[in-house]
Subunit: 223 residues, 2 copies
DNA sequence: CCATAAAGCTACCGCGAGTATAAAATCGGC
DNA sequence: GCCGATTTTATACTCGCGGTAGCTTTATGG
């Protein structure tokens, strides 16, 4: 039970932010820092030193030592989880802001745009959360993999578009997009609900999405 | 210069498979193993012990020791790269087999199906290549992230489909699919060609794909 | 003022990636 | 048929990082 901090507050009545004045008297040394402050520091450290920062360095950026970091946020997994949570919140906020007053295709486009902008702003944190933390092998290799898998797909799409008299420029991002879609759905399918969804059905559903698009039914927001 | 093996063959004229009898005489101790055999062993080890196998264990599965593994395939990065290469080849073969005699929507569906089946057959190797090797944090957290990001999206899609009188079942995989697409394209966009493609253009292209689908232009194979 | 409680720091452990160095195995030359 | 050259392999190590044990410090309540 490491991460379970006792919720009893009021030792000098509020060290900064949250400051809930619970009247439960609380003995002992008051904490010098809290979880949020440590997560802030972690983001700063990641931004400064890249996604491969060691926990030691993160702790020192926060002005504490490793055990304090562990006591407050838990192990590496928990740290990643905490940062992911905040990043997701930021993305959700941006998306919802982008959606107000729009619907249909415009809503979709602004949703995508908001997501891209947000991860671009926090690129290092995004990379850290997605596994660049432990052994840089991960992210670069996934990208290499995707680029190679996408190449023939992109070639086919480009050819088809040229033949249809359309601009072939989107072929490359489309190839990456389709591979990314298959990648994530594959992980989800393998890891989560092994045989609850069978492959044929899943393939048919993905084909529907890719072939027809979201257009006929309304894509996202309520009308 | 570690991975650069001299290509001179013929020491006892063929230790097993490749056996090319180059007449270039070759001195010194004959190699007990070769790169391909080591990659085979690595796959076996990964299948048996999961994606977090240590290099030590991989080497011992092959019947050699770590330095031999390093001498033949290079460091961990190189190992991942080699395995990814083989896996991609397998996928490409499966896809091409699935594509013969089909076109349009059927081609797309069978392509997806082939890809899913192939990664399902080599799930552990797939996970290893995609970063579960170093510190298991990676893959699970990416999935958690994706599932959380996909949830509101899926809810919106399900609602829209119900309102349009359609089956809401595909909403969940579609949500994951869209998030996976944005994830991979985001990584590609951030990492590869920082500002060569601007966000607005990219968002528009992705919107085109998602909204209209591939249907109007022919998706993949030549007609 | 002292006992008690909580938090932090120093110093450590274990493990896995990657490497220096010595031993083993083969072939050409004599 | 032995010797030295040459190449591979194994033993045994270093290094760095994630994670932890136990002593020390700082506060409060009596």
């Amino acid at each position: 039970m490491r991460g379970a901090r006792p919720e009893v507050g009021r030792n000098r009545a509020g060290g900064g932010r949250g400051a809930r004045n619970t009247v439960v008297t609380r003995r002992g040394r008051p904490p010098r820092t809290d979880r949020e402050r440590l997560l802030d520091a972690a983001e700063r450290a990641i931004r400064r030193a890249g996604p491969q920062v060691s926990l030691e360095r993160i702790a020192r950026t926060a002005g504490v030592t490793k055990p304090a970091l562990f006591a407050h946020v838990g192990d590496r997994r928990a740290l990643v989880h905490g940062l992911a949570e905040r990043l997701l919140t930021r993305i959700e906020t941006a998306v919802q802001t982008a959606l107000v007053g729009r619907e249909g295709r415009a809503a979709l486009e602004h949703m995508i745009r908001a997501q891209l902008d947000t991860i671009a702003a926090d690129r290092h944190v995004y990379a850290f959360v997605n596994g660049a933390g432990a052994g840089d092998t991960t992210l670069a290799s996934t990208l290499t993999f995707a680029r190679r898998a996408a190449a023939p797909l992109a070639a086919g799409i480009a050819e088809a578009r040229v033949r249809a008299g359309e601009d072939p420029a989107p072929a490359e991002p489309w190839g990456i997009a389709i591979i990314g879609m298959l990648h994530m759905v594959g992980l989800w399918w393998l890891g989560d609900r092994d045989r609850q969804v069978d492959a044929a059905r899943l393939a048919a559903q993905l084909t529907d999405l890719l072939w027809n698009g979201l257009a006929p039914p309304i894509p996202n927001e309520r009308s």
